[in-house]
């Protein structure tokens, strides 16, 4: 017997839309099987994971809060990834953005406040992320150094920079030497949007970022350039596009957005600087970018789905005493199913019995 993948001729719109849904259903079926093997009800698990969090204002707001950093980073990453450039260091740009934006909050702490503090924090965060992302981009353009390695290694430097600052110069003077900064003043905190939940103004920023990016990709020459360089670099060069300038541009965009996500998270969710401000959002966002098929609107959906698995996973620990690791396993299953579905939209399975010719 011989199994082949044969390329499909053309791809129908229907298949493209149906594929992720089929993947989601398949992942749920496999996850349900795992739950059943653990001796719990898969039906109840389905509701606790995927339905209950969507039924209440509190958990809907939490969903948006959790998805916000993922979406902002992933939208930035899709500029790089579409141009076939690999910024693996969004985690570092996120941390540096949060740190430098948070620094403004610390500098102005105890002062008179003012409307300008928040915009200044957001701008500083974005610029810090932008500058930090330009390091691997410039090294690539000037010296041909692989941006995958340099951007990844810069993550650790950012982590230790923040760690050092929070343990030393930025430490709360009244904090018994514990490594946390003061709690930010109201003027340095992104406002909450509703009572009875934690949804903050950063959620709106994420939506605007995704919409603007979608317009850039579909309507602007720059968006076309990014797509073209990614799909056909030689053709793009013949068409007169400058791929060095493009490299710098997409890294600048993704760095700025990762930095913005960092300061949004610090100012909206955490409310102070800690030695660590990210449970790995910069890396999870890579998954979100691909789950969302490198399209800004897809990324919003993917970010929400992933956030749902986190929050549903917690509910399942509380309500059904299901293990924490099931959530991680389910996220992995989901990604595998989406990738598999992706393959089957482009190829079909051909099974031949008997000896191959």
């Amino acid at each position: 017997m011989r199994i082949d993948l044969v390329a499909r001729n053309g791809r129908s719109r229907l298949v493209e839309i149906a594929a992720p849904l089929v993947a989601l259903i398949a992942a749920m079926a496999i996850g349900g099987l795992l739950v059943a093997l653990l001796g719990k009800s898969p039906v109840q698990a389905f509701f606790v994971y995927f339905v209950d969090p969507l039924m209440e204002s509190w958990s809907l707001q939490e969903l948006a809060v959790k998805a916000t950093p993922l979406v902002i980073i992933a939208v930035g990453l899709c500029f790089c990834f579409r141009a076939n450039l690999w910024n693996i260091g969004a985690e570092g740009q996120f941390i540096l953005g949060g740190a430098m934006g948070g620094w403004i909050a610390l500098l102005t702490h105890g002062g008179a406040g003012g409307w300008w503090i928040l915009p200044a924090m957001l701008l500083t965060g974005a610029l810090a992320g932008l500058a930090y992302a330009l390091i691997p981009a410039l090294l690539r353009v000037w010296l041909g150094v692989s941006e995958i390695l340099t951007s990844l290694m810069l993550v650790y430097i950012a982590q230790f920079f923040l760690d050092y600052m929070v343990r030393g110069p930025w430490r709360d003077p009244k904090g018994f030497n514990f490594p946390v900064t003061v709690n930010f003043a109201d003027a340095a905190t992104l406002p909450q949007l509703f009572d009875g939940g934690r949804m903050h103004a950063g959620v709106l920023i994420a939506i605007v970022v995704a919409l603007v990016a979608a317009l850039v990709f579909s309507r602007s020459l720059f968006g076309y350039e990014v797509r073209l360089v990614g799909a056909a670099p030689r053709a793009a060069r013949f068409a007169g596009f400058d791929d060095r300038r493009l490299t710098l541009s997409v890294f600048a965009i993704s760095g700025a957005l990762a930095g913005l996500a960092g300061i949004v998270e610090v100012s909206g969710q955490i409310g102070q600087l800690q030695p660590s401000i990210s449970p790995g959002y910069g890396f999870t966002a890579i998954i979100v970018a691909f789950l969302g098929r490198l399209s800004p609107i897809g990324i919003v959906v993917a970010g929400l789905v992933l956030a749902l698995t986190y929050i549903g996973g917690e509910s399942a620990q509380v309500a059904m005493k299901l293990p924490f690791y099931l959530t991680g396993a389910f996220q992995g299953i989901l990604l595998m199913c989406v990738l598999a579905a992706d393959v089957f939209t482009r190829y079909r399975l051909s099974v031949q019995f008997g000896r191959a010719a």
Binding site: F178, I270, E314
Partner: protein
């Protein structure tokens, strides 16, 4: 169609079932852990406390835990417990401090207990244990048992709890061995067996023949066992991971505290307090002294008894810092609790700097 109806009925029933379970009149108690319950160290020990509580109070309580909760995204997890009817919530790591306070403000009728922090509120109590008492004892043992006069110390983060542990350790060691040296490696993690093992390997390669650790996995102790050297367990009795290497272990026993706090809630007598129990209160327990000669064992047992009875204080005055200056308040018998809880300096004899 009929099958659809059956499914729908089953769904409704299972939903109703889950809603019903939330209203049984039991006191619901939640725990938030920073690591996995399978770390066999710090979080494991809190979970042992939870299980003891469940066993002691039986069907009067229902306990739930959330494990592996990242400190920088914990507010939601704590609130999940508060809004699902948990009336008493233990948040068991320092980094949960500000999130616990924020959630507590929104749920004034829920009682919160935060471990190892210093901020309280009318419905937020704090609790910790005097781990440094155990560190003093293992320091003494290490001082006697070392042949190279070099101890390797795998530390997590330079917070006061860890720094005071290092100081208590060397003060214990100095009472029996004035030449002792402590080499410290900061692993910058509470739980990462790979990193912790690397730190221990580096220390062994630098001539340490005893490994002490203030990180939560058994990895450093296991490295000592592999190298044929000695070591101490952390937070729980780790003898099964290193039967030949473990001299003893500083075991955190939270069960007494957890049971007493739950009883207070059941009796409507809970108030916000700050609890700091040690060996005398059985919150810190020494695992059996093994792999050492009888005279060392006897010394360790006597020191343990002296600390438990209040006759010996690990930070008995004078307490000289690295510059040789006495840090005691004039006329004090020992350092004050506040000085230990905020410690960010080393005592004389440590040839290193506290990372700042």
């Amino acid at each position: 169609m009929k099958r659809l109806l059956t499914i729908a009925t089953a769904l409704t029933l299972s939903l109703a079932g889950s809603a019903f379970a939330q209203n049984t009149g039991k006191l619901k108690i939640g725990f938030v852990y920073v690591g996995p319950v399978g770390d066999f160290g710090y979080s494991y020990q809190h979970d042992q406390g939870r299980q003891a509580l469940q066993k002691a109070l039986g069907d009067k309580v229902e306990t739930t835990f959330l494990e592996n909760v990242p400190e920088n995204d914990s507010e939601r997890s704590i609130e999940q417990l508060a809004r699902t009817g948990h009336k008493l919530i233990f948040t068991t790591s320092f980094g949960f401090m500000d999130p616990t306070l924020k959630v507590a403000k929104r749920y004034p009728n829920v009682f919160f207990e935060h471990a190892t922090g210093f901020k309280r509120d009318k419905n937020v109590a704090t609790y910790s244990a005097k781990f440094h008492e155990g560190r003093y004892i293992i320091g003494q043992i290490a001082g006697k048992m070392t042949k190279t006069n070099t101890i390797g110390y795998v530390a997590s983060f330079p917070i006061p709890e860890v720094v005071s542990g290092i100081n208590a350790f060397i003060r214990g060691a100095q009472t029996v061995n004035p030449n002792i040296k402590v080499k410290i490696v900061w692993a910058n993690t509470w739980f990462d067996p790979g990193k912790e093992a690397d730190a221990a390997k580096a220390l062994l390669a630098q001539g340490a023949d005893i490994i002490s650790q203030h990180t939560d996995s058994a990895a450093p102790l296991q490295e000592a066992e592999k190298a044929g050297k000695l070591g101490f367990g952390q937070a729980s009795d780790m003898e099964r991971f290193a039967p030949k290497a473990q001299l003893t272990s500083i075991v955190d026993d939270w069960s007494t505290y957890y049971i007493s706090r739950a009883k207070l809630v059941l009796e409507n007598k809970w108030t916000s307090t700050d609890t700091w129990d040690g060996i005398g209160d059985k919150a810190v327990v020494m695992a059996p002294f093994k792999n050492m000669p009888d005279d060392v064992k006897k010394m360790a047992e006597e020191t343990t008894a002296a600390i438990a009875g209040g006759k010996l204080h690990p930070f008995k005055c004078p307490v000289l810092d690295q510059a040789g200056k006495d840090q005691c308040k004039p006329g004090a018998a020992a350092l004050e609790d506040g000085q230990i809880l905020g410690m960010n300096w080393y005592v004389k004899g440590i040839d290193d700097k506290v990372p700042q």
